[in-house]
């Protein structure tokens, strides 16, 4: 081993060009197809540039940080950020725990869950359908006043059986789930949870399967319980994959759009509580006056928030990550 290591050290200098070569296709394609929207977004954030509701172009004119000042002091960017965060947190925390638990169960060689192939297939299914089809379903489940949830509440006697009763006469009446902020938030968080825990589970399982079985065998011989193996072997070794899960969920969560947009009925008062940042960006850029400057400024703010939070995650989980690359690269 020792002499191999020295031999390698000399060679590793000449291998550097392969590093550049291997990442070249990515960056070439990136520059041709994707760099433009990115650079353009940065450029627009410092411009006054809009197409007014009456169809007149204004700008582009450089305005410094005006757009940022504007979206931080007026409008709905901060509100959207708080909505996004709340809905992400109540979806993601249960999601990662359930996914970890399922991943543990389905990779536990000692438990031998029968039918786990089928279960793995079924729990992943919600991730296959589009958010649009799923939202339509929840939309009708929660409908007012005759949706199945309200009907169920009526059958159980929680609300008045005559769902058309006058509000004054009945103690409790059918609930306008889709017009009440918290109900809609929870529904959106639930749909996101339910669509994505199977996906997170598969990612974690594939990470766990990458761990060499010999480690588990050794632990078992040493008398470790499956819980101990999971905590002492699995979790530390899949830290890079957990980091991946956390960071991509954070990014996806911060850019949450589909489900919340689809669950927002036209004219629903729940808007104030479920409009996410991306929905707000879309509204700024596609509805009414197309205000590219402010839309871009909100995008950049969202980027800053996401980047800071990601950095924190990288920092917390760093030991088996960047260090490992360094160690491996230098070997």
């Amino acid at each position: 081993m020792k002499n191999m290591a020295t031999g390698r050290k000399n060679k590793s200098v000449s291998y550097a060009r392969y590093g550049y070569l291997f990442i070249l296709p990515f960056f070439l394609v990136y520059i041709v197809f994707q760099a433009y929207p990115l650079i353009n977004t940065f450029y627009l954030a410092f411009q006054k540039y809009m197409l007014t509701g009456a169809g007149k172009w204004v700008g582009p004119k450089f305005v410094g940080l005006d757009n940022f000042k504007n979206v931080l002091t007026k409008g709905y960017a901060i509100r959207a950020l708080s909505n996004t965060s709340i809905m992400w947190i109540i979806n993601f925390i249960p999601q990662i725990f359930l996914a970890l638990l399922l991943a543990k169960w389905f990779t536990d060689t000692r438990m031998r869950i029968r039918g786990q192939g089928l279960i793995k297939v079924l729990v992943f299914m919600p991730n296959i359908i589009t958010a649009a089809s799923i939202s339509v379903l929840f939309y009708s489940l929660m409908a007012y006043p005759q949706g199945p949830i309200n009907s169920l509440l009526a059958t159980l006697g929680v609300i008045d059986a005559n769902i058309y009763a006058n509000p004054g006469t009945a103690a409790l009446v059918a609930v306008r789930f889709l017009e009440k902020g918290w109900y809609t938030r929870i529904a959106i968080a639930f749909i996101n949870f339910w669509m994505w825990y199977g996906n997170t589970m598969i990612v974690l399982i594939s990470g766990i399967l990458g761990i060499s079985p010999t480690l588990y065998e050794a632990a078992e011989i040493d008398g470790a319980t499956s819980g101990q193996s999971f905590r002492k072997i699995t979790i530390p070794l899949i830290k890079p994959i957990i980091l991946y899960t956390l960071v991509t969920s954070l990014i996806g969560g911060m850019q949450m759009y589909d489900v919340s947009a689809l669950m927002l009925q036209d004219g629903s008062p729940a808007k104030a509580m479920i409009q996410t940042n991306t929905m707000y960006i879309m509204e700024l850029v596609y509805s009414g006056t197309k205000d590219y400057g402010r839309g871009a400024a909100v995008s950049i703010l969202l980027f800053i928030v996401t980047a800071v939070l990601s950095l924190i995650l990288f920092f917390i989980l760093r030991d088996r990550d960047e260090n490992m690359v360094k160690r491996r690269g230098q070997k």
Binding site: M50, T52, G53, A54, G55, V58, K74, G75, Y76, S140, A143, Y144, P145, Q146, N162, Y164, A165, N166, P167, G168, R176, E179, A261, Q265, D266, G267, S268, P269, K271, E283, L284, Y286, S287, G288, T289, D291, R294
Partner: protein, 448 residues
């Protein structure tokens, strides 16, 4: 709640199986070939169907098995259809217009027509060879809507959209003792009487049936009574007295539980046309033969609620929607666009033919008069001649309060009305939030 418009095809064909044997309408076609397809942007396949079933056969073109339309000169007609929902239609249209994508003609709805009329993306009709004089038989309001700030006419509509109040004859008799449309009109002749009748229906049916689906349906009507558009010439938001009246009226409807709580275009709203939960709807021309017949649960008298409906004027005259055809600034085949616009919106013969077969209310006063004079009835409305009612309402249509901002501002207002009637906010807070929302969406507008 936004938008609008339109009509026909599948249902038209259904309704007119009996007419299929009637002689086909034909017209001359002398548009020179260009070798390029004509590209039309639309949000559904209605206009595509109109070309396929009326225009192409009339000019002697062919429709291939896969649906490709070929004109006698060999040119093809292609459609790019994108849904209105989520604003996709306008997003794609705007992108295509600004990028210079191949696009000759597109369709606009009343709610946002002015946005395109006042832009450089539409050609004045005079540039494709249609003079204002040629539009003399159209209902004047449809011409005014398409007129830009400089007086140029930038679009032409094949339909007029006067509105009426539609009600179920059987339910009206059961709960109101009303036997004829004339008696019903007395029950809804103004908004105070309308409210009383709503109370009467709810009480008599023990809340099983409501007079109207939701408060949103009332806005569709009352908005046309405003004296100022949402935004005045100084780009100030104007909150008309009618808006305040509407907030109050909606609150009363909610507090007394007088609607079926079925928001416009919701499932319950569509379903209500076919069941007994809702007695009446406000609809304009296209809504009757397109939306109502489609959702009534039948296709002939006696099936579902087909034939059980009748039309009356309702509390006030109003209009709702309408579709305009526009030539895109990038149009490469002006003679063909001209020919199509003339076929559907100008020529009496072809419009009359289309009207009789589709039951769409065409935008041609002469053709409509001829049809009424020949004795028009519609079995969906129990054999009523509702065209006479439309004809009386149409001259009263006032589109001076239409603005390019309507679609968005109406939706923002909706959010606040619902907060207010739900009891989440008081009136002043709702109005203040509304102003903020409008200014956020349209930074060029000021609100007090």
């Amino acid at each position: 709640m936004k938008r609008i418009a339109s009509m026909v095809l599948a249902i038209a064909m259904l309704l007119t199986i009996g007419l299929a044997a009637a002689e086909a309408y034909t017209t001359d076609f002398d548009v020179p070939a260009t070798g390029k397809p004509l590209v039309i942007y639309s949000w559904n396949d209605e206009f595509q169907g109109m070309l396929k079933n009326y225009y192409i056969p009339a000019v002697g073109g062919t429709v291939e098995d896969d649906g490709t339309m070929i004109l006698p000169n060999g040119d093809k007609i292609e459609f790019v259809i994108n849904p209105n929902d989520g604003g996709v239609y306008q997003q794609k249209l705007d992108a295509a217009l600004s990028a210079g994508e191949k696009l000759d003609m597109f369709l606009m709805e009343a709610d946002y027509a002015l946005k395109y009329v006042n832009s450089d993306y539409t050609l004045p009709l005079s540039e494709i060879g249609i003079t204002e004089d040629a539009l003399k038989d159209q209902y004047p309001y449809t011409v005014d809507v398409a007129r830009d700030e400089n007086g140029a006419i930038k679009g032409s509509s094949w339909q007029a959209a006067p509105g009426l109040f539609l009600y179920r004859r059987s339910l009206a008799e059961k709960y109101l003792g009303v036997k004829t449309p004339e008696e019903m009109q007395e029950k809804v002749k103004d908004w105070d009487t309308f409210l009383e009748t709503a109370r009467e229906v709810a009480k008599a049916s023990e809340n099983a049936t409501k007079l109207i689906p939701s408060n949103g349906d009332v806005w569709q009507v009352i908005r046309t009574k405003r004296e100022s558009p949402w935004v005045n010439d100084d780009l100030e938001l104007v909150i008309d007295d009618q808006v305040k009246w509407y907030f109050d009226f909606a609150k009363t409807l909610r507090d007394e539980n007088l609607t079926a709580n079925a928001n416009p275009w919701s499932e319950a709203w569509n379903a209500g046309i076919g069941n007994d939960s809702i007695m009446g709807y406000f609809f304009s021309t296209w809504g009757i033969q397109w939306v109502m017949t489609g959702n009534c649960g039948g296709a002939a008298p006696g099936e579902g609620t087909y034939g059980d409906w009748a039309a009356v004027d309702g509390p006030q005259p109003y209009y709702w929607g309408g579709t305009w055809l526009a030539a895109a600034s990038s149009c490469e085949n002006k003679p063909l666009v001209k020919d199509i616009i003339e076929y559907f919106t100008i020529e009496e013969g072809s419009m009359k033919d289309y009207c009789l077969k589709s039951k769409d209310y065409v935008n041609n006063t002469v053709a409509i008069q001829n049809i009424i004079d020949a004795g028009f009835t519609f079995d969906f409305l129990g054999g009523q001649d509702h065209y006479s009612l439309f004809q009386a309402v149409t001259p009263l249509i006032d589109t001076s309060t239409m603005s390019p901002y309507d679609q968005n501002i109406n939706m923002l207002m909706d959010t606040e009305v619902n907060s207010y009637v739900n009891g989440d906010k008081d009136f002043d807070t709702a109005i203040a939030d509304f102003k903020n929302a409008v200014v956020d969406m349209f930074p060029e507008i000021t609100a007090e």
